[in-house]
Symmetry: D2
C-alpha cells in the first residue's frame, strides 16, 4: 500500500508511520515529493487492518496496491477454469446455457419448459424452489416439492439442475437434488452461506450483488474457494444505477475485465440484468459477443401468468430465436454454445 | 395498479387485460385517452404477481399505486413507535445514542469504551462479536467470547448491548447475551434471518442495504413485523453511489421521508455513512437536525490500532465533542439526546 | 397523467384537483379505489407544468403516462431514420464506424490515423479541435488549426469529419470544416447550443450526458429536431455509477430500448464507455450484437504519447483486429459494417 | 503519481517507464515489492497527460497523488473565503440565505416573494429569467423582462439578486441586472461559460453537476478562478443515484469534505436536492448543522400554480417556519443566519 501524508505532515508523523508499517511486518520506503511525502509499504498486506492507519496523525489517504483477493486471481492460476455438471460446460471454449422459469410452479410447467429449452440447445435447467422474495406477501416457492420436480425434469431431459440455496440449513437438502448451487444476489455477502457451499461437492453459481464492487464479488468467491470448492462461476446480473427503464443496469464490460483478473468463468443473466422480456435477446447476443462463458435466462410457457418474474421471461419461441442468434455469433467467434 | 397500454393496442388486447384484472380479484376501469388507453385495477393487489401482466400483448407499462408494505405503514399505525431496551430509548421525543467499537477486541478495550461513551451520554453499546468481513483474510470477531465481554461491559455500565447476528443458527445465542439484535446491511434481504429475528423477544436494528430502495427496506422490516416482533428500528447507513470521497453516500432525506411513510423509528449511522472519522461529527449533527430518532457511532480507544474500521472510528475526546454539539441541537429542537 | 391522492384525502381535495385538471384543458376521471382515490387526467399534458400539482393539498404523487418527447418518438415516425454524411451511413442496415484520435495534434498524426482507420473500414474520422477538458491545465485543442487539419485528412481519405462544437459562437466555424457536429456529453443539456446546431445543415451526433435519463436525452434531441434539423444520431457513451474499474458504465440495453422508443439511430462509444484500451474491442463487438447503428472509437498512432485519452485509445493493429471481429458479427446478423 | 506495474512486468518495461517519467520533467523512484513493482513519479504532474502512460506496456494502473486543482485548494489559501454581494454574506461566520421562485413569472409574484423572504430573514433573492428546461415545450423564462423585474424587486427590498446565466452571449446582460451569476448544474462543465463568468466583476454561484465528482467540480471552479474572479461559491444541489423517492440525492457530507479541501464557501440547495416540498425544511436544518455557509431555497406565493418547480417550492409560511428552525440551530452553533 501507499500511505499519502498530508501536505504539512511533520517529520515525527512520517517516522511514526514508518514505525507502524514495520510493526505490521512490512518494509517502509519514504519518498519526499515536491508537495507531499508518501510512504510505500512493501509486502503482503492482505491480512493487515491497513485502512486503520488512515487514523494516524498526518495521514491523508491510504492507496492499496495489491488486489485483496488471491486464490481467485489470474496471477495465481493462469489457465481459465472450466466448470462442468452433467452436460453443462461453462468456460474455456464452451458457452453454457442455463434456462428455465424463475420459480418451479408445477410438474407440467417445469417438465414442459425443460424439454423446450433442451430442444433449443440449453444444457442446464434453472428453476427456483426456495425463492427469496422482496415482499413477504409474494409466492415463496414450493421448497422440497420444487426440488423433486426439478429432479424429475432432469430425469426426463438430462439437463443439469441449477437452483438457489438461501440458507445454510438447506445446503445439504438442495445439494442432494441439484447439480449446481446458486447463491443469489441478495446473499452474495452472506458469508456463513458462502462457507457452507464451499464445503459441498457441487459447483456454485455466485451472483453479483447489485451494489457490489468487483473486488467484493471476487472476495465472496474467495470465501468459497478457501473452503476447498474450486468450481465457482461468477454471474453478472446487473447493478443498481439511476437508470429506470431497465430494472438493473447490465455492465457487460465486467466480462472482459473479469477475464483479465480471474480464472473463474463468467456467466451473464440478461433477464435480471434488464428486467424486460423485449430486451433480453439483444443483451444475450451482446453477452456472447463480449466473451461470456455462459448465459442464464428465464423462460416460461406463459410469462403473462408466471407466479414470478413474468415481465422478464421469454416464451418458448422467443427463447428459440434468441438461441439461433446467439449460436451464429458464438460460431462466428469460434466458440461452442450450449 | 394502472396498466398503460401501447399506443396502438387493439380492443381485444384491452379486453384481455380487463379480463385478467378481474381474474385477479380486482375491478377494472378503462380510460381511453387521446394517445393511450389505461386500465385502472382497483383493489388490494399486494399479493398478486402484478408485474407479470407486463408480458400480456399490448401492454406498455405497469404502474403500482399502493405501497407494497402494509404493517410498517404509517397509514396503518399513525403514532410513531418508540423502541426501548434498558435505558436506550429510540423514537418519540427521545434520540437514542449507541456507541462503541466496530469489533469487540478484548476486555480492556470494550469496558473502557463502554465507560467512556456512557460518560459522554450514550445509552447503548455497540460492538461486533460475529463480524461479516468483506475479505476472508480479515479478523472475523471473537464470537461467543466477544458476547461474554459485551455482557461484562453491560454489567459495568448498564448500557443496552446492540450486536450483530449474521446467521439463523446464532440468533438464540446472540439474543441470550444482548438487548438489541442488529441485522447488518449485507443481510438486509437474508429473509430466513429476518424471520428468525422476528421470532425472538428482542428489538431489532435493521440496517439498510447499500443498494436497497426504501420499499425493499420496509418490506424487509415487514418480514420481521409479520413474525410478531413489533420492535424494529430502521438504520440508514449510506447507499452506494458514484461518490468516492466517502465510502458510502449518506442520504439524510431518508429520515423525513421515512417519518412520513412508516411509524418505525429511524437511526442514522454516520460512521459507515461517511467512512472517514473527520466527517462523522458533522453528519451526526446533521442527522439530529434532520429529525432522526437515534445515532449509532463507532468509537475506539485508539482508532489507529483498531482491528477493523479504525478509519471511521472516533476516539473518546472526539465522541465527547460530537455529543456536546448534538445535544445543543437536540435541545434547540425540543428533543432529548441519549 | 395520473394524480394519486393521499389515503385520507377529503372530497373537497379531490374536487379541487378535478377542477385544476379541467383548468389545464384536460379531462378528469375520478377512480375511487379501496385504499386510495386517483384522478386520471386525459389529454396532451406535455406543455403543462403538471408536476406542480403535487403541491396541491391531498395529493400524494403524480404519475406521468405520456412520454415527454414527441418528434423523436417512434410513435410519430415508424421507420428508422438513417443519417448520412459522405460515405458515412448510420442506421437502417448500415453500421457506421467513426474512428480517430481524441484530439487533433498535428498533420502527421491525423492524416496517418485517417489512412489507417479508412484501410480498416471506417467511414468517418473523429478528432477534437475544440476540446472540453475537465482541468484548465490540460491541452485544450488546436481550435481552427485543428479543423484545417481535419479538412486536409478528409481530402486525403474522403472520410466524413465528425468533430465537437462546444459553444454557439463556434457553430458556424465548425460546420464550415466538418460533416457531422458532435455535441459532447458535458453539453447535452446546453440548450442554447442544441438550438444552434438545430439550425445548421449538418447531422448532429448527440452524446448522452453521464447522468441523463433516457427521457432527458430524447428531449435534448427534441430541442435539435424542433429547430428543423432531422439528422440526429444518439450516442451512448456510458453513465456514471458506483463502478470504478471502468471510467463509466456502458449500459448496452440502451440500444434495443431506444430502438423501441425512437426512430433515431444509435451509436455507441466503447472508448469513453469503458475508459480502458483493453476493454474497447469486446465492448465494440457487444455493441454490434446489441444492434447498434454505429460505433465511434478512439484510435491513435501511439496511445502512450497521446495528448489526451491515451489510456482508452487503440493503436492501428488493435483497431484492425476490432474491425475484423465486428465485421464477422455484423455479417452474421445480416448487417453491413462501415 | 504512482505507476503500478503488472506482476510480470519486465525490467525493460520498468526502465521504459522511468525514462518516460523523466521525459515528463519528473523524478522517478522505483520500488520493487514482493508482488509488484511501482514507480513513484515526483513533481507537479498536473499539466501532464499522465493517464496516457497507462497505455505503456507492462503498466497495470496509474494512481494520482496530487489533487488536480490548485487555486481552489485549501493548501494554497488557508483562510476560508467569504463572498459578499449587497447584504448577502456567504462564508466565515455568516450563513447567507437566498430564496425566491424558480422562475420570475410577473411583477406581483416576484415583488411579493421578495418582501416575504426578506421579512423571514433572507438576504438574497433567487429567480430565473433564463431557464434551462429539460423539455423544449416547457416555459423558458421571461428573459430580459425577467431581469428587469428582478431589478425592481431589488429596489423594493435591497436583496442581492442571484440569477442564472446559460450562455456566454448573455453574460454581460445578466451581469448588468444582477449581483450574483448562477451557473446551473447542467452547465457546470460548459467551459466557455465558466471562462466568461470568470471575467466579470460578479460573484458566481457554481452548482454541482449531478454526476460530477468533487474533483471535477473544483476544477470547474478553477476555470473561473483562473480568469481572475476569486468570488466563487460552490452549491451542492444533489447527485443522481438509484434513489427514486427524492429527485436527487443530497449528500451533505460534501459540506465538511469541501471545507477540508477548499477555501471556497459551500451553499446547499435543499429544494433541488430533494425535489419535494415536504422534505426541504428538514434538509435545510440538516445543512446548517453540517456546517454549510449558505442556503438557496425555492419559495413561491402559490406553489401549486407555479410555472416551474412547484412540487419543491415552499409557500411563505413554510419558509418562515424553516427559517425559524434554521436560526435556532445556527445560533446554537455560534453562527449568524441571513
Amino acid at each position: 500500500m501507499i500511505i499519502v501524508m498530508e501536505k504539512n505532515a511533520s517529520d515525527d508523523q512520517v517516522s511514526h508511520i514508518e514505525q507502524r508499517v514495520r510493526d505490521l511486518g512490512l518494509k517502509a520506503h519514504v519518498i519526499r515529493g515536491t508537495e507531499r511525502t508518501v510512504v510505500a509499504a512493501v509486502g503482503d498486506d492482505r491480512k493487515v487492518a491497513r485502512e486503520s492507519l488512515e487514523s494516524a496523525p498526518g495521514v491523508a489517504d491510504i492507496v492499496p496496491i495489491l488486489a485483496p483477493y488471491k486464490v481467485a486471481s489470474r496471477e495465481v492460476k493462469k489457465e481459465p477454469t472450466q466448470v462442468c455438471a452433467l452436460n453443462l460446460k461453462v468456460g474455456g471454449n464452451s458457452i453454457g446455457v442455463i434456462a428455465g422459469p424463475c420459480s418451479v410452479e408445477n410438474e407440467e410447467q417445469i417438465v414442459q419448459t425443460a424439454r423446450a429449452v433442451k430442444a433449443a440447445g440449453a444444457t442446464g435447467l434453472r428453476g427456483g424452489a426456495f425463492k427469496p422474495r422482496t415482499s413477504p406477501y409474494s409466492f415463496q416457492g414450493l421448497k422440497e416439492d420444487g426440488l423433486k420436480l426439478l429432479d424429475l425434469a432432469r430425469q426426463e431431459t438430462g439437463l443439469a439442475i441449477v437452483t438457489e440455496v438461501m440458507s445454510t440449513e438447506d445446503v445439504e437438502l438442495v445439494a442432494r437434488y441439484s447439480d449446481v448451487l446458486q447463491v443469489g444476489a441478495r446473499n452474495m455477502q452472506n458469508y456463513r452461506l458462502l462457507e457452507a457451499v464451499g464445503k459441498v461437492p457441487r459447483p456454485v453459481l455466485l451472483k453479483r450483488g447489485p451494489a457490489s464492487s468487483i473486488d467484493e464479488w471476487l472476495l465472496a468467491a474467495e470465501y468459497i474457494l478457501n473452503e476447498g470448492n474450486p468450481n465457482v462461476m461468477l454471474c453478472e446480473r446487473g447493478i443498481r444505477t439511476f437508470e429506470t427503464h431497465t430494472r438493473y443496469t447490465l455492465p457487460l464490460a465486467t466480462v472482459p475485465y473479469l477475464h483479465r483478473k480471474t480464472h473463474l468463468p463468467v456467466v451473464v443473466d440478461p433477464s435480471h440484468g434488464t428486467g424486460h422480456t423485449y430486451l433480453v435477446p439483444d443483451m444475450a447476443a451482446a453477452s456472447i459477443a463480449a466473451g461470456c462463458d455462459g448465459l442464464i435466462v428465464e423462460v416460461h410457457p406463459n410469462p403473462e401468468k408466471a407466479m414470478s418474474d413474468g415481465y422478464q421471461s421469454l416464451d418458448f419461441p422467443q427463447f428459440d430465436d434468441m438461441m439461433t442468434r446467439c449460436r451464429v455469433i458464438a460460431t462466428a467467434l469460434g466458440r461452442t454454445l450450449g
